[in-house]
Symmetry: C4
């Protein structure tokens, strides 16, 4: 089974997710600088989530690029990942409207954790579907970044109740860890 | 006539349908757990419809993958299917806002029935357009799953007036029946 | 210059246009049959516009399928067509909310006229970019359907002020005329 | 690494950006000509932004068409460009609702400046990723149009506070300068 349509559909869904978040940047009433400044937290929430969805797109791109085949399980593992990503605009907006409230900040981490787990499941499905694909298997074999980021998200959830800013710091650190696309796969493909 | 653009357009429309439903998960006022819990029925409606649209995408993917050609009739049969799928966000939101009301739950089944019939018509058009395509013809020849699910949807419509939960149960059972992509086609292609 | 990205971008825009119209099918307050019945005019407006946008997608598909090359002029002629198509959700919603008012019904025809003219311009640009492409040139050479439909739209605009239903009838007739994809091109390609 | 998915994802995001702007053309209350005329500034804002996003899509198309390869840096430079483009619907709506207010008109220029800089960065990343690609390197080597337009946007920002219409004039002039796709690249590819 070809992977082209899986990629095309995922591109479509991720493109919509990344773009509908901007619809939550509601145009302020009036044209004053004060009205614009009030949007700052929503704007930074948008930037953070844009980076996260961009990271997922980039890594999804690399992982599927390294896979030769997909099967029915991969299709559903992919839809499962897209489901959790599709909740990011919701949590982003809620955080943007309640910047210092613990629950929205914790929920942001919950959704990111599920997305990270879904990404991990998709990875496993792709490897079991491409058993002899050494590029993919070797490259993602030591999945330390994924494990580290799940741990960080799970830490951020209770931390949001102790100190909201510390939870934000963890989300930003995690985004930085993932910022670079998976160089291991790229390195494997070149060698 | 090539099928690439038909697939690309369908991917685009289905990606939008599956994603705009999340826009109905309106961010709650306030940041309390109670406000979040109130969203539970809307959330489960979103999950159910996400699974249904995912099922249609998966089966559409498999069916077109097994077809070599498309013609003008197929283009319109496909648009007809997309039309009914495009109504799923509407019925999902209505059900989510009126969880125990019979009419929205019945309408949900009406739209699913029309989508199932549209899928069946698309299948017939594809077979008549690819008459010598034994993979497709043999594979979908005994279309019992489609028939069973139409019967279940039609049962769910009156049932919604008798016992709303029984109608929901039928929708969930039906989604489970379809959960796995059409293994018959996959099996045929391998053999 | 390849035509793949032009097709992909057009597919994306048309997919969004056809799908965002359904967002205007606002979920009724309450779960009564009366509330649902009130949506009937908006629903029929949605069906009519879905068919129109579907017609444009189908014909766009056929025309580009018959073209080997595109150039800078074609890119802009295509964006020009997409611009007018992008106004259809706006006029559809306005008609749906003011079913018997002449101005919205007339504006619906104005936008359809501009879209038809834009389609004609795109056709001319494609022919001048593919001068030796006999399939395309012969097939669209006698563009009677396009001319007829522009005349019908232009008739519908004043008619909306005399008798709204007559204008609707013209829009429906026009959609029927275009319903079948351009069989001339299909016939040419087979021969 | 192939560029197909980068193109497909960018097409998706740009298609959504260009289309969601039309959602801000809110249907007027009532069906009078006066209500329609009130939409004129919003409509012209939509036209201007449609042209700008169309220009970016066209130039993006040409630039990637001339590139053979992409790498991780290009993926992020591309997402960076898409980020600034995704803010255009926001600034367009704000300008449309406050046509003669300096701040929204200035912010429109700020976002265009950042988008122009992001485009320039993407160009540099593509050239460094395709070092021996003379078509691309020669063609974009003398990037005068990009520099001129950034200067014009930066001029328009203070000008919005002195004379709003002069700022609009600069945006319109700039759009005209960019209206034609990058003929240098096209010319290089033909020779």
């Amino acid at each position: 089974m070809g992977k082209n349509r899986l990629e095309a559909f995922s591109d479509g869904v991720i493109a919509i997710i990344i773009t509908i978040m901007v619809l939550e940047l509601k145009v302020p009433h009036g044209a004053s600088m004060a009205a614009l400044v009030e949007l700052t937290p929503v704007f930074f929430g948008y930037v953070l989530s844009f980076v996260y969805v961009g990271i997922y797109w980039n890594n999804h791109h690399h992982m599927l690029h390294a896979s030769a085949r997909v099967n029915g399980k991969v299709l559903w593992a992919n839809l499962h990942l897209l489901f959790w990503l599709s909740l990011i605009p919701f949590t982003t907006t809620w955080v943007g409207e309640n910047v210092m409230a613990p629950l929205p900040v914790a929920l942001y981490g919950v959704v990111l954790s599920f997305a990270a787990v879904a990404y991990y499941i998709l990875e496993k499905c792709l490897i079991s579907c491409n058993p002899s694909d050494h590029i993919l298997a070797n490259a993602v074999g030591k999945e330390y970044k994924g494990a580290v980021s799940v741990v960080l998200y799970l830490l951020a959830i209770p931390l949001a109740y102790l100190h909201v800013c510390a939870a934000y710091a963890l989300y930003i650190i995690c985004a930085m860890v993932w910022f670079l696309p998976d160089r291991r796969i790229e390195a494997q493909m070149r060698s």
